[in-house]
Amino acid sequence: MAETAHVPRSPGRVVVAGASMGGLRAAEQLRAAGWTGAITVIGDEPHMPYNRPPLSKDVLAGTASFESLAFTPRASAADVEWRLGTTVTSARLDERVVGLDDGTELAFDGLVVATGMRPRKLRCDGPSGPGSGRHTVRTLADARGLRDELTRPGVRVVVIGAGFIGCEVAATAKGLGVGEVTVVDPEPLPMLRPLGELLARSLHRRHEERGVRFALGAGVAGFEGEDRVTGVVLTDGTVLAADVVVESVGSVANTEWLDGNGLDLSDGVLTDEQLRVGGHPNVVAVGDVARFPNARYDGVPRRVEHWSIPTDSAKHAAKSLVAHLAGSVAQPAPFAPLPTFWSDQHEFRLQSFGAPALGIADVRVLDGHPEGDVLVGYHRDDRLVGVVALGGPAATTGAARYRAQLLARPALIS
């Protein structure tokens, strides 16, 4: 690449946009990669970075305090400047500045995009907004608000979307003693797309046995009620009575602040195999918001909303950014993480390694039985590309045995 190494204003500043897990890990990994200049992390939430997975599980159940969620930053990140409660509203990448909602501009030598996602909301008729009984789960405030409503006696809950978060919220609500919990999804089974039919069936049965009801094969046409939701109207005409509605119908990337820079923001921010954004070697993206090619698989850029990705991508992105800022032309090997995912629902856990969705057409039971603890393998061209365990600790430790095998395989595209 004919790229003149940028000489940082000594020693320069890296701005990290987004102060959650990806932002924190990026700051720490910049130090680990040798960056000695200033680091400023800007986040619109009022909190220091905290862990999100418990929001739909232990926090909702009331078994983990909100305080216990905060990440403990590494000692090496002690001099990082945190600007919380501050939104990045614009960026001019060519001029190396970002604009903040307090009207100021901040110059950077390097920029890390770590602004993550926000929940998608259904746009249809009926009550909406605070106090309407409609909820999403992404932030501490969301989890607090939902917990307050789930613990009211006699509430009827409708969860829209049978993905990971929807299924977790339904399970947690049941665990809290909610009598009526119904999960709505246009697909015929919960989590069918990421897991395939075999495990989707097994999950469906496990949820039903624990009292979760499903309304599958129909979408949502609208909501009933004046100020508050009283019912959910499905596309087949059915009306489900509801006091509380949880919408878990996917998420939208927080990238509007990057508009006007000629970037591909069609689904998150597109990066190259070094997590660099749109031909700007001093701009990298990490975590949920990054749409990156994975050299381990087919090289197709995808966003991966797994907890392991902010850490993995921060490590790689920090190396490529610091190398660039130091004027190095050496290229690290392409980013090739092994995705891992877990989900806790009722008393069982799903544990995934690799990319099951790429091998959904060829699913084989590797161990156990779908009725109990089970371990399944996902294959593409007869090759194992992912494993998912469902059940108790024995099943999940079983999955770990295949991790080395999944890691050792040479990349599919090599």
Binding site: S68, W307, T396, T397, A400
Partner: protein
Amino acid sequence: MKVVVDMNKCQDHGQCVFSAPDVFQLDDTGRLAYVSDPDDALRDEVEEAADVCPLQAIRIEA
């Protein structure tokens, strides 16, 4: 180096084992066992193990 795992938080995910197998192990029943005073040469591994713990239950003291 001193490592402390909050066993009230630990949910036996085993991610730490992948990062620092000399320090963290899962026993036959899938429960975590660990070395509380590993050699300082293992610091990088242990920091990584702390990063990848889904419950953030691993603390490095000194």
